[in-house]
Homo-oligomer: 307 residues x 2
């Protein structure tokens, strides 16, 4: 079977089953925003990696190299944010073509440093390889956390909470396709240089039973949390905080928003800074999307597929 | 300027200068086999990454997916070996084409597990992306060490020691180009499934002033150690341990041998298990290659260039 037929999430399941962790220090292996390793009594180490491929995640018509560097770090930081962690050290792999300009690579690192400087992230190593047809950039980010919040911790009765608005990145990409960089709207900026919610993630850790970063759209977030936690959810469509100029479909399926979705006990939901309650976790395994008239519709198992 | 003109090592220097580490925990940032981070009083964390790109590092005519998985882990383990470390956790990024077969990916992970099982390495996460034209596989490997041995620790008077023979991988590749997989010689096996020298690296740690893994050929090893240590070397060509069927050029410039090159005080050289003394470190900055007749020749600044 081709990977495109099995799909990204089916492939992840296959790989996950093949690779049960044997080291006793592994608290979370595959299947969450980051791996979590027990370090000493009080601390955990977080490991995550994300890649941007030319003409898949970016193209040079829309993106400056500074923005590619920024975004590469941002999407990795977002995984650390979803664990309420503190980012520390990064490795960067450059997959370059023969004609890539050195000045472009300098810009790329300037983008990483510009965002990394805010959070004390050091690039401590990496690899450089030749990639004949498509540029690619991989980052491995290492962080620490004092507490672990998993995708699998959602409990029936929890409020489902969004920190940050949704649909911006997808709306921004639509604008880029239509107008190029001429219309530099806030949505376009959200697509080119997303802002990871590290501080919000750390603050939410105190209240969250489960948390995930919204990299593949709200639909995928809900599917992942519900599947891992063996619960369902009821979501009120008119409560979903949309970015200005974005529509519901962009919020549900667009992806690349990098806001945080978490669940917390109802009576603690109001303490989640910047959080908006968009629904609740249910005992039933269905994810029901309730529209303005009160009608419910089951969410189909979709969300952004990478193949 | 194009990266191909600056060259890999020039580009690394540029990137290194742009990224001085700010975290106090960083013992070694860029420019060694792994990054080294201080963990607690007695231990260090090692971080390294290596990538294999289709039609650059492997092609599907010569390589089985099992071997690609094995080799990806092996080349990362070799970096940990050069630090005398113990490997622990890996992240794996798959850059796949739409028509990649799921069974191939299973074979790939079987290769990782086959080698990883020997050393207690767990794959704890990763990323899956679409790569339209060339498959690529990236691993980030995390390990620990109790002592740090740098490339920059070589001292005048040190013996230069090789653990393991050289030229095998390059000779194996030449054979693959000529005969394909029909001639499955030990050199071909060394190219497809190199054996990292983890145990040898750990044992050598007690005696080594500097150590490096031979991923880019002996010439590049010598250049790196001498440059980082601000010393020179005198190497006796007829003492270089060649793999059977390999020639001197393959040992010097072929690369991908993954044996260990270290320097140690002369009176301790004999304790390095499996080690062969091939020369000495000198105060002069030149690297002199001495032939059988006693004639010396300066090593030019070459070695395998990735562009």
């Amino acid at each position: 079977m081709r990977v495109s037929r099995l799909g990204e999430f089916g492939l992840i399941d296959t790989i996950r089953k093949m690779n049960p962790a044997k080291n006793r220090g592994v608290v979370i292996g595959m299947g969450d925003d980051t791996a979590v390793i027990r370090n000493d009594k009080s601390k955990y180490m977080l490991m995550t990696t994300d890649t941007l491929v030319e003409n898949v995640h970016f193209n040079l018509e829309y993106f400056r190299f500074f923005e590619i560097g920024w975004k590469l770090l941002a999407v990795n930081l977002s995984d650390i944010a979803a664990m309420g962690g503190i980012p520390k050290y990064a490795l960067v792999t450059l997959g370059l073509k023969k004609n890539t300009q050195v000045s472009d690579i300098r810009e790329f690192y300037a983008g990483i440093r510009s965002l990394g400087g805010k959070y004390g992230v050091d690039v401590v190593g990496g690899d450089i390889v030749s990639s004949p047809n498509n540029l690619f950039f991989t980052m491995d980010l290492f962080g620490i956390a004092e507490k672990v919040v998993k995708r699998s911790g959602a409990r029936p009765g929890d409020a489902v909470i969004s920190i940050g608005k949704m649909g911006a990145s997808s709306a921004g990409l639509a604008s880029l396709k239509r107008y190029g960089r001429k219309a530099m709207t806030s949505n376009v900026k959200a697509h080119l240089m997303p802002k990871p919610m590290l501080n919000q993630g750390r603050l939410a850790l105190k209240y969250a039973n489960s948390m995930i970063d919204n990299s593949d759209g709200l639909a995928r977030c809900l599917i992942e949390i519900c599947r891992e936690s063996k619960v369902g959810a009821k979501i009120y469509l008119n409560k979903i905080p949309l970015a200005k100029g974005a529509n519901l479909e962009q919020a549900l399926d667009g992806g690349e928003d990098y806001n945080l979705i978490l669940t917390a006990p109802v009576n603690r939901a109001r303490y989640v800074k910047g959080g908006v309650v968009i629904g609740e976790i249910t005992r039933s395994k269905n994810i029901v999307m309730v529209d303005g008239s009160g009608k419910g519709k089951n969410l189909k198992d979709k969300g952004y597929e990478h193949f």
